[in-house]
């Protein structure tokens, strides 16, 4: 049976209106032609380095971008456009965010109350994460790192959301704790939720996710199956291949150059300046996303 697509983002662009002088009219484009989709029962890992637009995607879906952000493109939830009116109804109920850190909890409110006003729901969520009932009465500053992570997960679980967007849930955690956190997301997905897992740690994510969307400079370069990462020849985009080679267990080989900054993007393919297969053709226009071997790729030479 075909699994239903819960979230589908296509051709998303996010531009920040800038007020400072000297900025080109139209502002700063931080995300361009970004596409990603998550189906029920699966984990989509969104991987990419800092500044590749991962968190902005999460914020765009949840409608919590700053006021000076202009969003274009399509965001669909359960096959229908996610309008702001619909989003207002859905967020916190069907769509839940697992935030990055303790900064996302009110420092002066007991965590139980922050997870939900419904005590019994909190109790159930806490049981699931093996959090003691007494934790409900603690303030965020009294939690250990591991407890904090579980509390943040509980804020999403308590809603019974169909779509869970986890924004960098593992940095700063020990390997064991991080693995356990990932296991929790796997369980949620196995229970039918669609999980979008935003992460730096592609190595860890690969062990738990179904598919990987690779972001570079604010755009999606490739969407691959997690299993594709077992062999470099299965990967499609030169950047993904470079990423694979950079992994410690593979060649551990860096790719020269750095990701370009928003506002200083090259014409055409954003990866062209660092790509070893670049031709003049690449700099003419941004490559369209196309389907290739059960994945998506934005490269004219990918095969």
């Amino acid at each position: 049976m075909e699994k239903k697509t819960v979230l589908n983002v296509s051709n998303l662009s996010v531009t920040f209106r800038m007020y400072s002088k000297g900025m080109r009219k139209g502002g700063l484009k931080v995300i361009s032609n970004l596409s990603a989709s998550v189906r029920e029962g699966e984990i989509l890992a969104v991987a990419g380095s800092s500044g590749s637009g991962k968190s902005l995607l999460a914020h765009a879906v949840l409608g919590i971008l700053p006021r000076n952000a202009i969003v274009t493109g399509e965001i669909e939830y359960m096959g229908e456009a996610l309008t702001s009116a619909r989003l207002t109804k859905l967020r916190g109920r069907e769509i839940a965010l697992v935030p990055q850190s303790v900064e996302y909890l009110d420092p002066l409110m007991k965590v139980g109350k922050q997870v939900s006003d419904d005590k019994y729901a909190v109790k159930r969520a806490f049981e699931r994460y093996k959090l003691d009932e007494s934790v409900m009465k603690l303030f965020p500053f009294q939690l250990s790192g591991g407890m904090m992570r579980r509390v943040l997960c509980a804020t999403a679980v308590v809603t019974g959301a169909k779509l869970i967007i986890a924004d960098e849930p593992t940095p700063g955690m020990s390997e064991e704790l991080a693995a356990r956190a990932m296991k929790h997301f796997r369980d949620l997905a196995d229970a039918g939720a669609a999980v979008m897992l935003i992460t730096h740690d592609i190595d860890l994510a690969l062990r738990y996710c179904d598919r990987v969307a690779v972001f570079y400079a604010g755009t999606t370069v490739e969407t691959a199956l997690a299993s594709d990462f077992g062999n470099i020849d299965n990967l499609r985009h030169p950047y993904t291949k470079a990423l694979w080679r950079a992994m410690p267990q593979n060649d551990f080989a860096p790719t020269p150059g750095t990701q370009p900054y928003a506002g200083n993007l090259p014409d055409g393919c954003l990866f062209a300046p660092r790509c070893d297969r670049v031709t003049e053709e690449c700099t003419r226009a941004a490559p369209e996303s196309r389907t290739l071997r059960n994945g998506e790729v934005s490269c004219i030479y990918a095969d």
Partner: protein, 330 residues
């Protein structure tokens, strides 16, 4: 886990520390005030009296000095004064011809009404304006109010007092020129409304001192909170009443600090306002005592230090109720 003894012991220990601090503060401030006044020119009533009445013989001066104990060295005089204070005797006010404690009691009642009115007014207005500015940080209303507040901060109390007096009392005639009740009225027959009527302008003058500061501090804090992760997360979770649920308590700490910490400015402001409006409170008594009435001067010093100390102590105690992190700050 905290033991029962610890739970009781900590507050007790805190009270002990507060008391120790308070006593040492009072001691230090009276010592400084005493010796500053003893080295000031025209320090004692004898010289003031002699200047007004030339032709007093040296013998009589010596006799008077002996009577008032002014022939003793300052340290001995201070010790005597301190002993009397400890036995509950604050001395005799030479300018009022009444015991210092009584003068302070009467004057303080008038002053506390003035200061509290100003304090409450500046608190509500400052916090309210600060919340509006912080909520709409960066927008037009914020920019306008911020400029107004910055101007307010720069205006000295005596000047705004005089402007109020000229505008509201002289030009518009809405309020009386001064005093705490109509001239010549029997204090027993003065209604509360008449007293309030006399209180408005001095109170406004004093409150102008601190409301703008409070507003600016509250604005900064609220603007920070609005940018914080937890407000963003609350939005992402579709929470209602986000500001009341998450922001209010978080912006209370700086507001409480400012407002209770402003007791010193409140006292200082009331001294100025009372003089402008001839309002018979502690402040005007203090100015009157400045030259010759040392017991009253020291008494008011002692009292004002106690007043400011209490303000700070209340703020400290309130912290631990507002912010659980403060309670554990040991």
């Amino acid at each position: 886990m905290r033991t029962a003894a610890g739970a009781i012991g900590r507050p007790l220990k805190n009270v002990g520390i507060y008391l120790l601090r308070g006593v040492s503060l009072l001691l230090a401030s009276t010592i400084i005030a005493f010796f500053l006044s003893s080295i000031a020119p025209q320090d004692d009533p004898i010289h003031a009296y002699i200047q007004a009445n030339p032709g007093v013989s040296a013998e009589n001066v010596a006799r008077m000095e002996e009577y008032w104990g002014l022939n003793q060295p300052p340290v001995a005089r201070y010790v005597t004064w301190l002993k009397n204070i400890l036995s509950g005797d604050m001395g005799y006010s030479t300018s009022n011809r009444r015991p210092v404690a009584e003068v302070i009691g009467v004057r303080f009642r008038a002053s506390i009404a003035l200061m509290m009115a100003a304090w409450i007014f500046s608190g509500i207005l400052g916090f309210g304006v600060g919340c509006i500015m912080g909520r709409f940080a960066g927008r037009l209303i914020d920019r306008v109010l911020k400029r107004v507040c910055l101007v307010m901060c720069s205006i000295p109390t005596f000047w705004i007092g005089i402007v109020f007096l000229v505008f509201f009392s002289v030009t518009l005639g809405w309020f009386p020129f001064g005093l705490s009740m109509p001239i010549g009225a029997n204090p027993d027959e003065v209604s509360i409304w008449q007293r309030l009527h006399h209180l408005v302008l001095p109170a406004l003058t004093v409150s102008f001192l601190s409301f703008a500061n409070l507003a600016l501090v509250t604005r900064e804090k609220l603007a920070d909170v609005m940018e914080s992760g937890y407000i963003l997360f609350a939005k992402a979770r579709g929470e209602k009443w986000i500001l009341r649920r998450h922001a209010l308590r978080n912006i209370l700490i700086p507001a409480v600090t400012m407002q209770f910490g402003s007791f010193s400015e409140l006292f200082g402001g009331s001294v100025i306002a009372e003089n402008i409006f001839s309002y018979p409170g502690l402040g005007s008594a203090l100015t009157a005592s400045g030259k010759t009435d040392l017991p009253l001067f020291l008494g008011i010093t002692l009292f004002s230090v106690l007043f400011v100390f209490c303000g700070n102590m209340i703020a400290n105690i309130l912290y631990s109720f507002i912010d659980p992190r403060v309670k554990r700050g040991d």
